[in-house]
Symmetry: C2
Subunit: 345 residues, 2 copies
């Protein structure tokens, strides 16, 4: 049970004042190179690390950024998206010794409360915002608090504040590439099983499905929304396949629903891809363990996290508000998509 060393210890041992130590360790002018080296050596010997509370208190950074995930507990499911995103975020943060405060809450009101509290407690220097929504209260809140933030997932929409940076993927182009793939395989009736209706990217995918489908002359292309859960994915699939003239292809907004949908198809004896093609938006191990393996839209999720974290750090360093586009999702064709009406493989 060692005592934590402080700059006072270093100062005593190096024979200088505490301020000199502070200057030396922070690369500030005011000490000679010799003293600087000596102080740094002593600090290392003692295994000194700055007390984060003291740092935060003296007006500087808290050395911490926040991420709140607003999802009802029961939908905190199998998606690998978040863990991967977070791991990417932390690669960047850890290298700069910034910690990540993470919280899971039930809904967006609770999320706003958390942001307020973190701000009031001066616990975080900035936050990452996920699941941006069509009418999102968070940008206004954060800019009124003066809390730097980076929105993950939405392009800088006209929704008010040009004060938040954004990291986003081009969902429209991605949707176009999926539809092009299906169209080329002869599909004309396509349904899109989307995620939560309020989310910005859901809306964007839905609208781009519509425009792109009409451009390609696909009849009857439409979207249905769900809560991203396997249950609703399965349920939607059942309803869709029960229709008089069911589609020949379904696009699912996440991997879990796609797998659930594939399972429903198997259960009903609907052959994939002979009678039904399936595309999953976001790849994961899931899409590779099913049989047949699912064609998926692959994104570099942890890369996404890295971009966002980097941008947030830049903002904290006084960088400008930016809108950063991640690389375009790539369609990885596997066995779950095929020519219409052709027994596969």
């Amino acid at each position: 049970m060692t005592r934590r060393p402080t700059i006072k210890d270093i100062a005593r041992r190096a024979g200088v004042s505490e301020s000199a130590v502070s200057f030396a360790l922070n690369g500030r002018p005011g000490v000679s190179q010799g003293t600087r080296d000596r102080v740094q050596r002593v600090a290392e010997e003692l295994g000194w690390q700055p007390n984060s509370a003291a740092r935060a208190l003296s007006g500087l950074r808290a050395g911490c950024v926040g991420l709140v995930l607003a999802r009802p507990a029961h939908t905190l499911g199998v998606e690998s998206f978040f863990l991967q995103l977070v791991s990417g975020v932390q690669e960047v943060l850890a290298s700069r010794k910034v910690a990540l405060l993470f919280q899971v809450v039930e809904d967006i009101d609770a999320e706003c409360a958390v942001h307020r509290r973190w701000w009031a407690e001066k616990r975080v220097d900035g936050v990452l915002i996920v699941d941006p929504r069509a009418h999102d209260p968070r940008p206004a809140l954060l800019s009124s608090l003066g809390l730097p933030a980076v929105v993950i997932g939405a392009p800088a929409s006209g929704s008010g504040s040009a004060e938040l940076s954004t990291v986003w993927a081009d969902d429209s182009a991605a949707m176009a590439s999926v539809l092009a793939h299906l169209h080329e395989l002869g599909h004309r009736r396509v349904v899109h099983v989307a995620g939560l209706p309020g989310l910005a990217h859901t809306e964007r995918r839905i609208s781009s499905l519509r425009t792109e489908a009409s451009r390609l002359g696909l009849t009857d292309a439409r979207s249905v929304t769900t809560d991203y859960s396997d249950a609703e994915g399965a349920e939607a699939t059942r309803r869709i396949l029960d229709e008089a003239e069911p589609p020949t292809a379904i696009i699912y907004d996440n991997d879990v629903m796609a797998v659930a949908g594939a399972s429903v198809a198997a259960e009903r004896g609907t052959a994939v891809p002979a009678e039904l093609s399936i595309v999953a938006w976001d790849d994961s191990a899931l899409c590779r363990v099913t049989h047949p393996r699912l064609t998926a839209l692959v994104r570099d999720t942890s890369g996404f996290g890295r971009l966002a974290a980097q941008e947030l750090l830049d903002r904290l360093d006084g960088g400008p508000v930016r809108s950063i586009q991640a690389e375009l999702p790539r369609l990885e064709p596997r066995e779950s998509t095929g020519r219409v009406g052709v027994r596969g493989v």
Copy 2:
């Protein structure tokens, strides 16, 4: 961009000294009830929240606990276990206004480094330890640092320090219940596809498989270890089914591998459960979206998290080191297990 209110503001407005405010807001004696009420009202009006850095600095708590997840990035897969665990942890923490610092790292050495840094920075009051191992360096490290900790997943092993609390599930009993289920269905040849070899619960499951199997007279019961990934789960399954006399049942240590295994079986035309029964350790949406749905060992994972968080808070409040057993995992029989050699349903 409002300024954060401080106790000084409250003091001025309430017409008392700063110390009186501090006493009043912390429920300490030294102020009359009238003053206390007045101060609390003013604090509320101003929307005051204690500055966490200042609190931490004045010798008290950081108001923060840590959780490090040491997993190679590529295995940060689909498992829902962690997100659920974390959500349970936070239900408890949030109600006490304690924040959770979360970090994902590559391996256990990096994890130890994070614990050291957090301690040196006085960033956390305590930590939650997951994935306890057979020869685990963390208990010794943490007790040498004097950092309170709760180990999630291992019973208080003889591995040294009786200084860490523990929250655990009875894996041996769980394994026994699985084997009893399989034995009753007539299975005599069972293989256990385990997780990472170093982990304490992996070892425990393996050893309890052996003792329980010999008790039941199961021949040839054995375990193979993997890295928990779908890839190794599938690979192990292939090898096992290729044997001269393959088992009639396989127990997988997580849901992802179980699904991967089921997929391999489907691919080879091995009927489930007619020719092969499958049990997944840990239930999730995954086990319900496959066809057939997988028999699984259900645990209340978020309840597990709640228990652990509560125990850590108790420790921080000076409570004793305890070893807490979570409720016994329950076997949920579904369609993936059946009588040996009987075409199911």
